[in-house]
């Protein structure tokens, strides 16, 4: 994607150490890809939260209805 303003960071495929004050485009893209993958953990987290609710409902149905 082209940048609408200013300059995009220099592009490099080098996976070696990156100066954190001057991160290159490849480094930022890797970070972005990692963050995109990170968002998928929301799904199992939501399922776990739903499971907690389900346990409560089952207890109610088994012992309190």
């Amino acid at each position: 994607m082209s940048s609408p303003q200013g300059q995009a960071p220099a592009h490099s495929d080098d996976q070696g150490p990156v100066d954190p004050r001057h991160p290159d485009a490849a480094f930022i893209q890797r970070e972005l890809d990692r963050d995109i993958r990170h968002e998928w953990v929301l799904v199992p987290k939501a399922i776990l939260a739903l499971a907690v609710v389900a346990v409560l409902v089952v207890i109610r149905q088994l012992f309190f209805v």
Partner: protein, 498 residues
């Protein structure tokens, strides 16, 4: 056959009471809708349109008597993982009477061409005026490509700005906000409650707002604007309201630009450790929201092709929060009325309402606690008791009716007769409005000799949510009385640590 007016009046009254009770279900359903949307952020987010992009960023920092913290704040900004040649910091000194000017001038000498001191001789007009003084200077040339608005005492984690600017690679984006995380070193019960509230309202609710396509508010301490967006806003921040952040957010979206919340850009902030200070801060926010609601009265529930602020989902979420105290009171009035007229129906409606509330609370708390595990594990007491211990008992009563009305009393040899059961039920039905009174009492006793122990105890009992509702209720009263709306700066003492 004659028409029975008595039956008609009775049935009409029952319907009215049911509608009153139903008002209490709206915030519950709105909360459930928001939190159900969160996992969809995995697929509906802005990351797919983001790209590596490091624009020249001017940072404007409003400062009034921030001598204790401003030097370190500047050092941290200059140490961000961002090209230093693309960063400039403008500290707008709002007529400070401490050593703020000396500290900033020393930093300007240390970072020549990167740190600037702007002095206002007349201060105290509010944050928006202070910001505008800096923005005017920044816009004098065309160096700035993006403007970061922040507070003097917040700490940006090193990668946070970089994570925000990548969204500006999409020309449709006007502004980006970050996750303001409570970061006081000396946490107490209140800052832990606030910390978890921020988890609920930011990495949780604002992710949902990303999914819904409309953001309610850019964080005051972390809002990044494109130059184009700032110019479209008139090159200045609105000064007519106490809610300048929300107005900026709305105006950006009304002009067809997107506002993105970046949950992985983390900014640490110091939050009030006393109820009185929190009350002052939130009263300002709540009164600001009243003016925002009135100012944008023509957008609510009117879907538009330009923005999503007029969507039904966003409108319901907005009004549910704003009118939550009203819903709590009307719902209780409805329940008590039904109890007096038709106790069996009241019991059914109460169970339906509070089981919905319990299910929503459990789901939201369980999900939010996972979104910031470290903060949640340090504040596990506040996570569990967030709704208040008494409200949790009310939920248990709805969920497991025999448990609190028969089983637990019988453990102590107590068997409730009809009168006792009625009194207990009545107490449960009217609890929610009274929980707000409890929060008010907590504020009053806080400054007394026993306040240090009693105030936290009351808040744990009545719930942090009830405290916020009491503050919102106070904002209604202040608005009705046309009380003076003045800028009260929340005092900060540099307690934030990484």
């Amino acid at each position: 056959m004659s028409f029975d007016w008595g039956v008609f009046a009775y049935n009409t009254l029952i319907v009215i009471l049911l509608i009153l009770v139903a008002t209490g279900a709206v915030p519950v359903l709105a909360g459930a809708m928001s939190f159900v949307a969160i996992p969809f952020h995995a697929v509906k987010n802005h990351y797919h349109k983001a790209a590596p992009y490091l624009p020249r960023v001017s940072i404007v920092v409003p400062a009034w008597n921030e001598g204790a913290v401003i030097g370190e704040s500047i050092d941290r900004l200059m140490g961000l993982e961002y090209p230093p040649e693309s960063l400039r910091v403008y500290v707008v000194d709002d007529a400070s009477t401490d050593n703020t000017p000396d500290v900033v001038l020393a930093k300007a000498a240390q970072y020549p061409g990167q740190v600037f001191h702007i002095r206002r001789d007349k201060g105290g007009e509010g944050k928006a005026h202070t910001l505008n003084a800096g923005i005017r200077v920044i816009l004098e040339d065309d160096w700035m490509q993006a403007l970061l608005i922040m507070d003097a005492d917040v700490i940006y984690l090193p990668n946070s700005l970089r994570k925000m600017t990548r969204h500006l690679a999409d020309p449709k984006v006007g502004a980006v906000s970050a996750y303001i995380r409570e970061g006081s070193a000396d946490k107490n019960y209140l800052t832990r409650f606030i910390g978890f509230e921020y988890v609920l309202s930011q990495p949780a609710a604002r992710r949902a707002q990303n999914v819904l396509g409309a953001q309610a508010c850019l964080a005051g301490g972390a809002q990044l604007h494109t130059r184009e967006n700032l110019m479209a806003l008139g090159g200045q921040i609105d000064t007519s309201s106490l809610a300048e952040d929300t107005i900026t957010t709305f105006e950006t979206q009304l002009r067809g630009r997107e506002v993105v919340f970046e949950p992985l850009a983390v900014v640490l902030a110091e939050e009030p450790g006393l109820i009185s200070a929190l009350w002052k801060q939130r009263l300002r926010w709540a009164r600001g929201n009243v003016s925002v609601t009135a100012r944008y009265k023509k957008i609510w529930f009117r879907p538009s092709k330009v923005h999503h602020l007029g969507g039904w989902a966003f409108g319901i979420v907005w009004f549910s929060l704003w009118l939550l105290p009203v819903a709590m009171v009307t719902s209780s009035i409805g329940l008590v009325g039904l109890l007096l007229l038709h106790s069996q129906l009241a019991a059914v409606v109460f169970r339906a309402l509070w089981i919905s509330a319990a299910v929503t609370f459990v789901f939201t708390l369980a999900l939010a606690a996972q979104l910031d595990r470290k903060l949640s594990s340090n504040a596990w007491r506040e996570v569990i008791t967030f709704p208040g211990i008494i409200s949790m008992i009310v939920m248990l009563t709805a969920f497991f009716p025999h448990l609190t009305e028969i089983d637990i009393p019988s453990l102590f040899g107590v068997h409730l007769n009809d009168t006792g059961l009625f009194d207990l039920t009545l107490s449960i039905y009217i609890w929610i409005p009274f929980s707000m009174v409890g929060a008010l009492i907590a504020r009053e006793v806080e400054t007394t000799r026993v306040g240090r122990f009693v105030a936290p105890l009351i808040i744990y009992l009545v719930g942090y949510g009830s405290l916020l509702c009491a503050i919102t209720f106070d904002s209604y009263i202040k608005e009705i009385r046309h009380a003076e709306a003045k800028w009260d700066k929340t005092e900060k003492t540099g307690r934030v640590v990484v």
